[in-house]
């Protein structure tokens, strides 16, 4: 096969990736889009194999068999609640692959005098890939609960990280100027260390931002590898993924009302008891499952606001049963989903989709807020900070400015919660003390099953 033919096939693969991503624009076309993208990948790999003069077989075959088996196993066995960990691990593997390819190229070409730009792309590929690798696995360990999710800090941390970053840049400059192997490998090593040290101080609650950012970096690493082996399919795919990760990073920081540097260097999220104005502490009104069932049955529109507590209690299926029952009675139902409702972008949507909720009932922030003033009953399950009116009204609140679901605009608010304790930001929620708010103190799953049985008697 000629080089031109091969490169055209790579172009077709890149086009397949773009079409695949475009079809992710709607749940209706998304699955076929994924199929198109994966076909593009298969074609790109096959054409590479056909085109190669293969000297060593064992490494290729062994790698494909081992990698394929591990990939299938992980993909089929993962629980939907563990999706953030899996994506973090995949990011890490992607970063590793990019770093290893560039490393192998460097070793092979060590005796050849290389142009400066080639060494530079090699070393950037190794550095970015290495940070992605270790950073992702620290994120994985935190999400999986293997290490403490709370921020780990020590005095002088910023100084150490800063010095290491400057050192790494120095090594990059040295390596690309002299093609000195020692500098090359030291730069890679310091990048591995940097990945650990930068992610370790970040709290578990901020992991959605970190995963999105690492997603972007894994794309950037692939693009750099594309420069190393002058392959535009890699450059295009890397750029696409880099852009995707950046957009999600931005969306997540906006939804959390934080800046990226605050997330990376602020060491916030869990453990930090932000004082909060406990001004509006009054009496919360408690209610019973029977009363809530009546209110739901006679409503014309019910909106549910699920939080991660719902998934922790494994109550998605019970919630969907309740909503299906209400639908059968002619109640219009919808789910209002805050961008940070889950543990990664879009996580709650997947958890509800798994529980068989039709996707047209899954509404985003704006759609939900448009609907809430025309809603009879809003059911808040396992969510707290994302429905806290202080974020809108109280300039002194630590979460002031964070976009919220304005559930206090609905006629009746039912909050299902185990107690009045504040959420992990440690901020009191004035919503609980409003006249229109009724508290149903119960575990999310038990509350759902109680409501379903209470509804039968209405």
């Amino acid at each position: 096969m000629s080089d031109a033919a091969r490169d055209l096939v790579y172009l077709a693969a890149a086009a397949a990736f773009i079409i695949g991503l475009k079809r992710l624009g709607s749940p209706r076309t998304a699955r076929s889009g994924n199929l198109i993208a994966s076909t593009g990948m298969l074609v790109a790999v096959v054409v590479t194999l056909l085109d190669l003069e293969i000297i060593e077989w064992w490494a290729l075959v062994a790698g494909l068999v081992v990698g394929g088996a591990v990939g299938v196993l992980l993909a089929l066995r993962v629980q939907m609640t563990s999706m953030p960990q899996l994506v973090a691990a995949f990011n890490g593997f992607g970063g590793a692959a990019s770093a290893l390819v560039a490393g192998a190229e460097f070793i092979r070409l060590e005796q050849v005098e290389l142009p400066v730009e080639t060494i530079l792309t090699m070393i950037l590929s190794v550095v970015i890939g290495s940070i992605t690798l270790t950073g992702s696995f620290v994120a994985f360990a935190k999400l999986q609960g293997l290490v403490s999710g709370s921020p780990v800090t020590y005095p002088g941390m910023r100084f150490v990280n800063g010095a290491l970053a400057v050192g790494a840049v120095g090594l990059v400059v040295w390596a690309q100027a002299t093609q000195e192997p020692l500098a090359f490998w030291l730069a890679g090593g310091s990048a591995l260390l940097l990945g650990i040290l930068v992610v370790n101080p970040i709290g578990g609650a901020d992991m959605p931002v970190v995963i999105a950012l690492l997603n972007s970096l894994s794309g950037l690493a692939a693009a750099m590898t594309g420069f190393v082996i002058t392959n535009s399919a890699l450059i295009i795919s890397g750029a696409l993924v880099g852009a995707s990760g950046l957009i999600l990073t931005k969306l997540m920081t906006e939804a959390m009302n934080r800046s990226l540097s605050n997330v990376l260097f602020g060491a916030f999220g869990g453990g930090d008891s932000g004082g909060g104005s406990a001004a509006e502490t009054g009496d919360a009104t408690s209610t019973s499952a029977d009363d809530v069932a009546i209110a739901l049955a006679y409503a014309s529109r019910v909106v549910v606001v699920p939080g991660y507590g719902l998934a922790v209690a494994q109550a998605q299926h019970a919630l969907r049963e309740l909503m299906t029952e209400l639908e059968a009675r002619g109640v219009e139902v919808a789910y209002g989903i805050h961008p940070v409702a889950g543990r990664m972008p879009g996580h709650m949507n997947v958890l509800l989709a798994e529980a068989d909720v039709p996707y047209d009932q899954l509404l985003d922030l704006d759609q939900t807020n448009n609907l809430l003033p025309r809603t009879d009953v809003v059911l808040v399950v396992g969510a707290n900070d994302v429905v806290n009116p202080s974020a809108r009204d109280d300039a002194a609140s630590p979460i002031y400015g964070m976009p919220i679901l304005e559930v206090d605009k609905a006629a009746t608010v039912v909050v299902i919660k185990r107690s009045l304790s504040p959420g992990f930001a440690g901020i009191d929620n004035p919503l609980f003390y409003l006249d229109r708010t009724k508290m149903l103190f119960a575990d999310a799953k038990k509350a759902m099953t109680d409501l379903v049985s209470a509804l039968e008697t209405v």
């Binding site: 475009k22 993208a37 290729l60 994506v87 692959a97 879009g346 068989d356």
Partner: protein
């Protein structure tokens, strides 16, 4: 700078713009499949890994190549498969004619 590098940079910049345009249109509902799917796409490094694993020569380079093929294959196979699994869960609305946008 060589013209090859310039071409590479050009492709990178233009592809980034396409990425921003296409991905801002992905609804929040699909952001998790977007992450796992785009991650699988970044597994295109497999193409580079295949070259590194089969070129022979230095043993260390071949070992690096083997590890690169392994990790990239995990990314590609696992990424596309889990994305498909997730997207399969997104059920069609019961009444498509009444579907709200």
């Amino acid at each position: 700078m060589s013209s090859l590098l310039i071409v590479g940079i050009t492709v990178f910049v233009l592809a980034s713009f396409i990425g921003f345009e296409v991905i801002t249109k992905v609804p929040p509902t699909l952001h998790t499949p977007l992450m796992s799917g785009s991650n699988a796409i970044s597994g295109i490094t497999l193409v580079g890994a295949v070259i590194a694993a089969t070129a022979g020569g230095d043993v260390l380079a071949t070992v690096f190549g083997f590890l690169a093929v392994t990790t990239a294959t995990i990314n590609v196979v696992g990424g596309f498969l889990v994305t498909d699994r997730m997207l399969g869960m997104f059920r069609r609305p019961k009444r498509p004619d009444e579907e709200a946008s």
